[in-house]
Amino acid sequence: MVAIETFKLAKSYQVGFWRQRRREALCPLTLAVEQGEVFGYLGPNGAGKTTTLKLLMGLIHPTSGSAAILGCPLTDPRMKAQIGFCPEQPYFYDHLSARELLVYLAALSGVPAADRQRRAEAVLRRVGIAEHAGLQLRKFSKGMLQRVGIAQAIIHEPKVIFLDEPMSGLDPIGRREVRDLIQTLKDEGKTIFFSTHILSDAETLCDRVAVLNHGQLRGIGVVADLVREVSGRVEVIWEGAAASDAIIGLAAEMHSSGAIFRAVLPEPMLERAVDSIRRSGCRLISLTPVRATLEDFFLQRLEREVETGSTVVSGEGAS
């Protein structure tokens, strides 16, 4: 069953003094996220990730198109009680303590009065700041506020959770804890839609990802399928400088450390590279297939856009 669905959802702003120029913040976006999926929404800063999230949250109104969450329109309060949202760099009422804030937001979400306090304590424990429950939020660090942001997104046990850059402001331990938390939420059957520009996080957690740039969808699919497009390279390590010129000629990227050389080159060039090494009398140390990362895919897409000057690359399969 589809949890999140957008159909040609678009947002543009009128800019300039007379508001006559039009800036496309999000070009018509069509995608679907299945229930129980962890869906990564990737793109560089200014790609349109936060705009999409704000549209889905009803904070801004679309210029055209439509969207539905759990089969309901975005304005449906019954649907809103079943979703959670952690904004990027969340800000809260700093006159409240973490516990007070969570009890307040739980009340707005319709959590019964008898359960609010207990749930607030539980989620604060879950995000690792239970010992600061009574501290006013104005005394919280950025990382602690990020954790409160995640806590308030899950206090009412929503079915679908939207996280905008959830790892932002967290130290490596915090990032790992949030990754574990997202994994646990997935195991509980929640649908998670999270935006990030930290690709390793997406690669670790996501069932599928969408890549966005300049407000347009550049690619969508399973991480393994996307990275397959840019894989097919081999790392070659050898000893002895004699073969280096010949291998550079094979369009390889090369590094050296003393007499040890390392080159990464396209798979079809492998035979010729090994021949060169042998002919030069160098000692071949290892041949290792390079596993492409999401970052490689991402960078390749961006580079291709710069080279061709194109702005439109369709999303391959919206769901």
Binding site: G58, Y91, H95
Partner: protein, 259 residues
């Protein structure tokens, strides 16, 4: 729905109470009442008149300053600080519920604030007269009218807060308060003028808030009774005017993109 509005109102009230600026204003108001007391002591035979005039005016002025000061930030501050994202984005809270909750929270703050200042005022009056008189009951009507003024001012500040900056909201709200204080003069001017000027001034006089009708300080200071009809009409006027302005605030806020 009622529950959510109540929760937002309570949080708004709690925020104001924890705001140190509010306490400073209360202290100032207490000082004003004490000052009125001293002035009353040095005024021959008109101690009550001076005390009532200064005390009620101080309560009204400090309340209006608090209403404008807090009202202009009610929505714009939430947008600027992005605190409303977690309230409106993924909670079953409608935008109008948020607006109404904020307004009721601010009204509760003002009523409690005016109440505390009134306690100081009546204590000063008791100290001066040694006992309460029957005419002192009319002072409660004057206080009630001051609260009705707060209702209109908070709705105006809140409306401006939905679409403009705190500075402009302050200017607009304060200007309307000033114009509204002289609304009767505007009406009188309209009656004297003719043609287009008459239509314009009369139209403006009905469109702009009329704060003059709430000012009975002079009457109650002279122990003149306030007619029941005026209490009823003023209550209806404040309620209808504030409802119209708050509805406008809801319409504007509903269409806004919360960037």
């Amino acid at each position: 729905m009622i529950g959510r509005i109540r929760v937002i109102a309570f949080n708004t009230f709690r925020e104001a109470v924890r705001d140190r600026v509010l306490y400073n204003l209360v202290v100032f108001a207490v000082l004003m009442v004490c000052g009125a007391l001293v002035l009353g002591r040095i005024s021959l035979r008109i101690e009550r008149l001076v005390l009532v005039n200064l005390g009620l005016t101080a309560i009204a002025l400090f309340g209006i300053v608090i209403a404008i000061f807090l009202g202009i930030g009610l929505v714009s501050k939430e947008i600027e600080r992005r605190t409303l994202y977690t309230v409106l984005a993924a909670r079953p809270v409608r935008r109008w519920e948020f607006i109404v909750g904020k307004q009721l929270g601010l009204m509760a703050t003002l009523v409690v604030n005016a109440g505390l200042m009134s306690v100081g005022f009546f204590a000063a009056l008791l100290y001066l007269q040694h006992r309460f008189q029957a005419a002192d009951g009319f002072l409660l009507v004057a206080l009630y009218f001051i609260i009705l003024e707060f209702v209109i001012i908070t709705s105006l500040a809140l409306m401006f807060s939905t679409f403009t900056s705190p500075l402009l909201s302050t200017i607009f709200t304060f200007s309307l308060f000033l114009i509204g204080t002289f609304a009767e003069d505007l009406r009188a001017f309209g009656a004297l003028a003719g043609g287009f000027t008459r239509a314009l001034t009369t139209g403006l006089a009905y469109l702009l808030p009329n704060f003059a009708v709430f000012n009975v300080v002079s009457e109650v200071a002279h122990s003149v009774p306030v007619p029941g009809r005026l209490i009823l009409f003023n209550s209806l006027y404040a309620l209808l005017y504030a409802t119209a302005v708050t509805s406008a605030a809801v319409l504007i806020f509903d269409r806004r993109n919360l960037k």
